[in-house]
């Protein structure tokens, strides 16, 4: 399997260590990730089909899906728009402090989610910096589903910026110049030239932000208020079942979430392949 591939026209493997590194990679991956995740699926087989369906479609669970998916979608959409805007501003304009702003965009990756959670809550609570102005206007964000959306916007903020930024940097200005000389307006150029070019990256970032938001726990539980049927996210349902020693029920809901994660991961991979084809075609 190793050196025998020389006849395919490729040079034979000169570098050593293929067997060792691949073997270790597969072994470590199996121990840490694959075996534990398969344990999750096997555990659900202790449930009958009806029990499984009951566990994943209880009214409280269904309400949590609606909140988790709805809030994640909304947050990812906000990040789609503002992420594009931030990427655009960082690539195309120059302004003082740009390097610092650029570095700061990654803050949600580096700041522990629990810290983000308590901090956003402190800002938006009735006596917080922002909450004290918003609550008299009747806008209540902390301890409501709206707070969940805000936490998820924070968590997903870097994804769209970081996927769109490099593509926008590589975009050829000649195309835009050509479009201008052919009489296109700036808006036409944006929608017909720039947007198609960055679309795969934009969608990849959107899907990543969405996937991350669905699984998010730490930042949300502080700001959500966690009221059953109203502001209880699906990961919290799993924790709740676990605390009542309902391992099978917790596992059933976890399998639903894991399946959705798999689907999103495959979707993101497909989007990235599309992007590679597109940038490969224009390069």
């Amino acid at each position: 399997m190793s050196v025998a591939r020389a006849p395919s026209g490729k040079a034979k493997r000169v570098l050593p260590g293929f067997g060792l590194t691949l073997g270790y990679t597969v072994l470590y991956l199996s121990i840490i990730v694959l075996v534990p995740l398969s344990a999750l699926f096997l555990k659900t087989f202790t449930l009958s089909w009806d029990q499984f369906v009951d566990a994943v479609t209880g009214p409280r669970v269904l309400a949590s899906y609606r909140l988790t998916f709805g809030a994640s979608l909304l947050a990812a959409l906000v990040n789609l728009v503002f992420g594009l805007l931030v990427a655009w501003v960082l690539v195309r304009y120059s302004f003082p402090g740009k390097k610092i702003v650029d570095a700061l965009v990654d803050l949600p990756f580096a700041l522990p989610t629990a810290v983000a959670g308590i901090s956003l809550t402190a800002l938006l609570a009735g006596n917080g910096w922002l909450g004290q102005y918003l609550e008299p206007l009747g806008i209540k964000l902390a301890f409501t589903p709206a707070g969940v959306v805000i936490a998820l916007i924070f968590i997903g903020l870097p994804f769209v910026v970081r996927t769109v930024q490099p593509v926008l940097e590589d975009a050829e200005k000649e195309l835009e110049e050509a479009a201008t000389s052919l009489g296109a307006t700036r808006l036409q150029i944006f929608t017909r030239v720039i947007l198609p070019h960055i679309a795969p990256a934009l969608l990849t970032g959107f899907a990543m932000a969405f996937a991350r938001a669905i699984g998010e726990y730490g930042s949300v539980i502080f700001i959500a208020g966690n009221m059953p049927m109203v502001s209880e996210i699906t990961p919290l349902i799993i924790i709740g079942k676990l605390e009542q020693y309902d391992y099978a029920g917790a596992t059933a809901v976890a399998v639903v979430m894991l399946t959705i994660s798999f689907i999103l991961l495959l979707l993101i991979n497909a989007l990235q392949a599309w992007q590679r084809r597109q940038t490969g075609a224009t390069a």
Binding site: F82, A114, S119, W129, E176, R186, Y217, A254
Partner: protein, 305 residues
């Protein structure tokens, strides 16, 4: 080109001034609200009752044991994933084999698994009613609701970071230098230490610093496996939660501020590493790709083969 066409061409590749300023203002206000304010709030809330109360909160024994456990977890989890990241990126970036893209997807998998689910799988494996639970109990060993479980959950959630940084970097750099070293008679280890490692050191640092930040800050997965035993299985983020739920706001934010400082240090190191990686990749891109130098001994040896 007349002055008029130049102006038109410029107008075609940028927006009018008021559009530019509006977009810039909206973007900066968005970042101010969602990034700067939460960060600033951590420190102001922590110092609300003055520096004395802040320092007092950090000197509490439970806070100390949380700091120690967090450091211990990172000291174990980061090197494990560092070794894995180097092995995985060597196999994936340097060689072609069947199933490579599938393997790369599997390496990324922990990113898309909810931290809560990640914690749950270890409870199912090692918990009292889990697969290995009875055996562990018979041998008086504890993994879940103890330190090993916290380490395992942390390893899981930080699993892909180093590999993720190294694979594209090593792919961009190609195999030429390593092949030359091997042809010249270097052993595999020598090639790695003297050729590959210097080339990837900034990417490696970047991956390690991200792994470390996530390892020290992980909440969801660790929360499921820890059991929240004060002074024993509480990491810093879990300690923040306990203090916060006990309405000890200043203490909670004081501990949180340590994690926020860690995040800021991470961002600084990350920016430096990113800048160095960019510089190195640019110097590779500037090398003439199709005309390798034929005057170096390595090239002559390679040609002789």
């Amino acid at each position: 080109m007349s002055a008029n066409t130049v102006r038109r061409a410029q107008a075609g590749t940028t927006e009018s001034a008021w559009v530019r300023y509006t977009l810039l203002t909206v973007a900066l206000v968005f970042l101010l609200l969602f990034l700067v304010l939460p960060l600033a709030a951590v420190f102001t809330e922590a110092l609300r009752k003055g520096l004395g109360a802040y320092l007092e909160a950090l000197q509490e024994p439970d806070a100390w044991s949380a700091i120690k456990l967090t450091l211990l977890t990172a000291v174990i989890a980061v090197p494990l994933n560092l070794v894995f990241g180097i092995a995985a990126s060597w196999a994936i970036a340097k060689f072609d084999f069947w199933g490579k893209s599938f393997l790369t997807t599997l390496v990324d998998l922990p990113f898309s698994v909810s931290p809560v689910v990640a914690g749950l799988v270890y409870v199912l494996l090692f918990g009292a009613s889990g697969w290995f639970g009875p055996w562990l109990q018979a041998h008086d060993m504890k993994i879940v609701f103890a330190v090993p479980g916290i380490v395992l959950a942390t390893v899981f959630v930080t699993f892909p970071f180093v590999a993720r940084e190294l694979i594209p970097l090593m792919q961009a750099q190609g195999n030429d230098e390593e092949q030359a070293a091997i042809v010249l008679g270097a052993t595999g280890w020598q090639t790695f230490w003297h050729v590959t490692l210097p080339n990837i050191k900034w990417g490696l640092l970047y991956g390690v610093i991200l792994t470390n930040a996530r390892a020290m800050g992980e909440f969801g997965a660790v929360s499921v496996v820890s059991g929240h035993i004060r002074g024993q299985t509480n990491t810093l983020p879990l300690h923040v939660e306990i203090l916060y739920n006990e309405y000890q706001s200043v203490a909670a934010f004081a501990v949180a501020s340590l994690l926020a400082i860690l995040a800021l240090v991470t961002l600084v190191i990350k920016s430096v590493a990113e800048w160095r990686i960019e510089r190195e990749l640019r110097s590779i891109a500037e090398m003439p790709p199709e005309a390798p130098r034929t005057d170096t001994p390595a090239a002559q040896l390679a040609a002789a083969h």
